[in-house]
Subunit: 299 residues, 2 copies
């Protein structure tokens, strides 16, 4: 019985954090204090938790951070005005608005208002466009970039491989497809994107050398949908009520872990797989933004 | 023996030109004169021909057009300065720079300088990003948009279908993938993008309900690579020397036409397929830009 090797995002993220920390130290030596602003609108407990985690990690790395918490009654104009202030503030290198937003605020309007050079989430259309066009001067979205970083860490080469992506969201499926289609050894894959309207999904999955599940459907990918030895990445997060423990819930991914373990060659645990990479890429993007604004850094 | 029905881009383009002409007339009634500027740099005879064709067609439709021809020694700065003038000129609604450009001018710099609201070619990163994100407020590139218009004209529905795109260029393969992945009956396809680094290309092609060849490899798609009844679109243009007629050359596409004809359900002729749609979409985009700047029109 085969046993998949784990793609430990937590370990890859820790390594990336070390490199980010060293870049922060180098910036400080040059008199630059990398700084990020997190916006949170409303009282969603999950959003509060996510922002707190990001803030804590930023502090650990020596990045200055501030949280601007606004009430759920905030108007779109009020939020955009605060964003524009931070766009103009040259001491701030990165800006993030925690999603989801209250109904009265259009996500698109928010993404288009953040200065693209401070858009560490990579959600501005100009950054999405640079990604599609293969122009490396933008910021790629953090989850897809984190998945590519996991592949790089473990020496998994996508060039010429069959990649199947389940899900066509703007934050995972579509930008990941663009990254893996780009020219170069970290891309160069044959990429198929499937979604809720797709047919023959199991057959597609079975031919995948790399299978990325980002649908948000609990345990959708079963063992018999995986090619022996494939690389399987689970991006999904679904909270299920546990029938054996009333009132309790558990988090499951889009991949049936115990079945996948017996077929896949490589598999992300969930949690501890893709999740930690997202914050790691976010803070790496913040430092990249600070380096660019200071006219130093690798790119 | 099956005989594929032809997807006559020339006919679809003629219908689109009629609708564009009616929109031009409506704009003129409101006192708006739709106007486009074509830039041409250097003396490439093919570029001269293309610009002349676009200019003539614009005139036919009642769109004011001007050609700015610059010598092959033009510097990037000189071209960008002229573009910036046209960006500021509120009488001009659309700007196109004929590609390819002389070596000393970076295509990226040119695409990023054109005002996105006048970018009728859809090459600005912000328009590419809106396309990827499914935001309809941008301009899609003309060749992919023209292919989708052919499908619409003939009632060919991509929703749920298997689409295989050969080629990952910024002007055809990647933007077409984004269009066909978007939500809605004109998209919603399962999309695979293949390219020079891909393996198993014939097997992929044989499962395609829609096969789009945009590789630039003469007669690459043979009859035995096509699923019976499939929709086959030939975007390629290669000039081959004709060995039977010394000094003569002929244009061939990426699809072996006579073989494909016996297997496909629908097939674009080449020439007369995708080519005429590109100019038709370009001038439709010009009128869309004029309508938006005048605050009227359908979107």
């Amino acid at each position: 019985m085969q046993r998949a090797k784990l793609l430990e995002g937590r370990v890859v993220a820790a390594g990336l954090h070390q490199r980010t920390k060293a870049r922060v130290a180098e910036l400080r030596r040059r008199g630059v204090e990398p700084a990020v602003t997190f916006f949170r609108v409303g009282e969603d407990p999950a959003s509060e938790l996510y922002v707190r985690m990001k803030e804590k990690r930023a502090k650990d790395l020596g990045i200055l951070s501030e949280v601007i918490a606004m009430p759920s009654s905030t108007t779109e104009r009020e939020l955009l005005t605060r964003l524009e202030e931070k766009n103009r503030d040259s001491r701030i290198h990165g800006i993030l608005v925690q999603m989801p937003l209250p109904r009265q605020i259009r996500t698109e309007a928010v993404c288009q208002t953040i200065d693209p050079s401070k858009d560490i989430d990579g959600f501005h259309p100009i950054n999405a466009g640079k990604l599609l066009l293969g122009d490396p001067s933008g910021f790629p979205p953090c989850t897809p970039a984190g998945i590519c970083e996991i592949f790089r860490h473990y020496g998994l080469v996508t060039a010429g491989a069959e990649v199947v992506i389940l899900g066509r969201s703007n934050i995972v499926g579509k930008p990941l497809a663009a990254l893996l289609l780009a020219k170069g050894p970290q891309g160069d894959a044959s990429v198929t994107v499937l979604h809720s309207q797709s047919r023959h999904i199991p057959e597609h999955c079975r031919r995948a050398d790399f299978l990325i599940a980002a649908l948000g459907k609990a345990e959708f990918v079963r063992g018999d949908m995986i090619k022996a030895g494939a690389v399987v990445v689970d991006v999904g997060v679904t909270r299920l009520l546990d029938s054996s423990l009333p009132g309790e819930s558990r988090i499951v991914g889009d991949v049936h872990f115990s079945e996948a373990c017996q077929v896949a060659g490589w598999l992300t645990p969930n949690p501890g797989g893709v999740g930690p990479m997202t914050i790691a890429m976010l803070l790496a993007n913040t430092v990249k933004a600070a380096e660019r604004s200071a006219g130093c850094g690798a790119d």
